[in-house]
């Protein structure tokens, strides 16, 4: 019996030791901390800009790319008791309510928010801070249409017409925030009533009959299936961003005088991306400093060429290529965040049944 007691004691002691080792040291002061930025795969920042931040603040930044925005936000929710990082960037207005309801953010209001128009400030309690915005729109390959002697489509309804059969590639809204944004645009345009009478479900049935292709994420759709990108895929229509044409201009050598791809301005949904300090961070001060950095002029001006999004802070100059080649839709197919919160999951479920199965 005595030996058993010793064994049990040893096991308990070991377990306690292991638990104690699990807790790392915490830093009160932001300096010297290493913070982890939990973000989606499309996050990018130019090296000098990040290095300058690290030198000035004394904070080291590690970037954890955790998949597409949807998957990344879900990961953050599932791990909220022991967060994967200190700051989250990349939750957008289609997913924001899911993150807020799960309570993954700490409230923080950066001073620089004063320079951000109210239209981007989606969370009244300042848990999520707007960083950038962009428009999700159908893009078309200009050369493909002139080669084939077909007029490009201009509206969502055009996409269901026979002359555009097997030309469109979209992203799965259950795995891609780009795809979800486009789904919401079609809901806004077609209505969400009884599917037997009309609305977005019959619209997607027509798209399906017209040979729409569904990819898991934006990268695959744009880089491999779209004919207007370097991947030279087979399809001339893709759900992408209003800022994609400037990206194609930059990729082309020598620089063309007109963008090789265009945007269907009547198919756009406005996407706002936000960041927040994750609840349970061991480095709250450093995390806040990093959110401040994301609203700084330097980072805001860096974003367009790194992530092809637009700065939310007023008065940040756009790079010349954006001024020259990007088209910003004057109006977009938007749905109120409250509606999105309420119906998003049902839309995705019904979309999956309508289009994929």
């Amino acid at each position: 019996m005595k030996r058993w007691t010793i064994c049990v004691a040893a096991v308990v002691a070991l377990a306690g030791l292991a638990a104690a080792c699990g807790r790392g040291g915490t830093t009160q002061d932001g300096r010297g901390a290493t913070i982890t930025l939990l973000t989606h795969d499309s996050f990018a920042v130019s090296k000098p800009v990040l290095q300058q931040f690290e030198q000035q603040s004394g904070i080291k930044v590690k970037v954890l790319h955790a998949g597409d925005a949807g998957k990344m936000v879900n990961q953050a929710i599932l791990t909220k008791d022991k967060p994967l990082g200190d700051v989250l960037f990349g939750v957008d207005n289609t997913l924001l309510t899911r993150a807020l309801q799960a309570g993954i953010f700490e409230s923080y209001r950066p001073a620089a928010l004063a320079g951000v128009p109210a239209t981007y400030q989606l969370d009244t309690k300042d848990r999520a801070v707007p960083i950038d915005y962009g428009h999700v729109c159908v893009n078309y390959d200009k050369a493909w249409y002139s080669d084939h002697g077909i007029t490009p489509p201009t509206s969502l309804q055009d996409l269901t017409k026979p002359q555009y059969k097997n030309q469109l590639v979209v992203e799965d809204p259950s795995t891609s925030s780009t795809g979800l944004a486009f789904l919401i645009a079609t809901v806004a345009a077609n209505g969400d009533g009884d599917p037997k009478v009309g609305g977005w479900q019959p619209y997607w049935q027509r798209l399906r009959a017209n040979g729409v292709k569904v990819d898991e994420g934006w990268d695959q759709a744009y880089d491999t299936d779209f004919s207007g990108s370097a991947g030279k895929g087979p399809r001339p229509l893709v759900v992408s961003y209003a800022s994609s044409p400037p990206a194609e201009v930059l990729a082309a050598k020598p620089e063309p005088t007109v963008a090789p791809t265009g945007v269907l301005l009547d198919t756009c949904f406005r996407q706002v991306e936000l960041a927040g300090v994750l609840k349970g961070t061991k480095h709250p001060k450093a995390a806040r400093t990093f959110v401040d950095f994301m609203l700084s002029k330097r980072f805001q001006a860096d974003m367009p060429l790194e992530m092809y999004v637009y700065p939310v802070v007023d008065g940040v100059a756009l790079p010349p290529v954006f001024q020259k080649f990007s088209e910003i839709p004057t109006q977009s197919l938007d749905v109120a965040p409250a509606r999105i919160a309420q119906d998003r999951d049902r839309w995705i479920q019904e979309w999956t049944s309508t289009v994929l199965r």
Partner: protein
Amino acid sequence: MTSPQPPTRRGPRLGGRVWRFATVAIPAAFLLVFFVYPVLAILGRGLVPRWSFDPEPVGRVLTDAGLRGVLWFSVWEAALSTLLTLAIGIPGAWALSRFAFPGRRAARAFVTVPFVLPTVVVGAAFTTIFGTDGSLLAILLAHAFFNTAVVVRTVGGLWSQLAGRSEDAARALGASPVRAFLHVTLPALRPAIVAAGAIVFLFCFTSFGIVLILGGPTRATLEVEIYRQTADQLQLGVAAALAVVQLLAVTAMLLVAGKLQGHRAVALALRPADAVARRARTAKERIALAVVLVGVLGFLAWPMAILVARSFGSDHGLTLDAYRSLDATGPGSALFVPPVHAIATSLRYALGAVVISVIIGGLASLAALRREGRAGRILDGALMIPLGTSAVTLGFGFLIALDRPPVDLRTSPWLVPIAQALVAIPFVVRTVVPLGRGVDPRLRDAAAVLGAAPARVWRAVDLPVLGPALALGAGFAAAISLGEFGATALIARPDNPTLPIAIFRLLGVPGAQNYHAAMALTTILMALTLVVVFAVEAVPGRFAARGARGSRG
């Protein structure tokens, strides 16, 4: 038990009783906390959402056209995969069990290799040929690639025991070879074919890694859909309902498979008698044999060869670039850690899973080996149940059950090893119990009569058999843990990916560099698994003899 007893009698001392209790109680407690409780949590979420019985979530699954489509796809892809596997496996069984030819043993060993490979490796290998666009053919071929060994071993095992005399008699009476096969051999093989088909169907119905990697967005089995509803959509209610459907379907299939096997015990001899194997006699036979061998072996070698070749590929010829890139990470890298860290993580988790499964499986085996222990027998059976539960369901159960008091393991580094151990424990028990049963009880009695204390008896008689058996079980557990994907995919954290998780992640991001890195990691995982499996295969050669000596007494 108050009166002192002579040591040679059965009545155990207090320490012995505590020990006996522990061999039952510890595995039982493990099973209750890490299996029964998560499964109850799934049933609770799926059937009793708001503390009242409400099959609404399950009903929604069965009435939603899309989700019903998932169930239907699981059924028909499994049926097609099974037919394809039989179509490839039966000729393979014929060639490998009926004929003697040079290299036969090596060919037989080779056929088994795909079966021990992790599903991620098989899926990744087939992306080299078909891409990830949801080609149905890719899924079916990958399933056939994976499961051919089951058919070759099961059907071949029986075939090599049919002496062939009935077939010879039929031929002598004038039947054509085809007629003799259809009317004499095939009916005799039927039980083995049905049994193998049932197992393959079950594997394909619960297929996860292969369909997730090769299926694209449009194709999903129940397993894949549970994962997607959880990881992509955070629809835990729908996922729970799907998991309930999956649990019911698998239980039903296991019952049917058990019935089918119960009709006639099928010989699953690993080394079938070579006696009936003969040289191919006629030219026709030789040609048929050559065609089948080249076809089957080529089918199995082809994806593995392309996989290894791709891992050395790059934009400029054959290089080691993909392997060199594995210890680097940086901006734009798909993984938080350099990919080599995934190797270390996998090995660490494998060690944890081995320790847990050997302790729990070993204790349970000891309980099961005590003939008088009815609790032991029940435990033995109960430990088989996790085997029937699909891995994704298990992982999902962990996710929703072990995240709050009384059991909050969500942040524990033991979470993944425990889940993997749960998958491995049945294999440990299956390995240890049959070998342990081989120990003649008279040996123990003899030792006791000669004056050995119980502990000494155990050390001298049981340990020499159980030790190697446990080592064998540990090897299986290590191989299972290294390749485990379904449960791990739901519970591993992205900052600590295992090899299969890292491979899946790399396959999901664009760029030739990431693809080559995925191929390199896949090759490493394949090599690690094969090293473990061959090390395990080498064990019984040395120790089975001891076990056999024990059984002969």
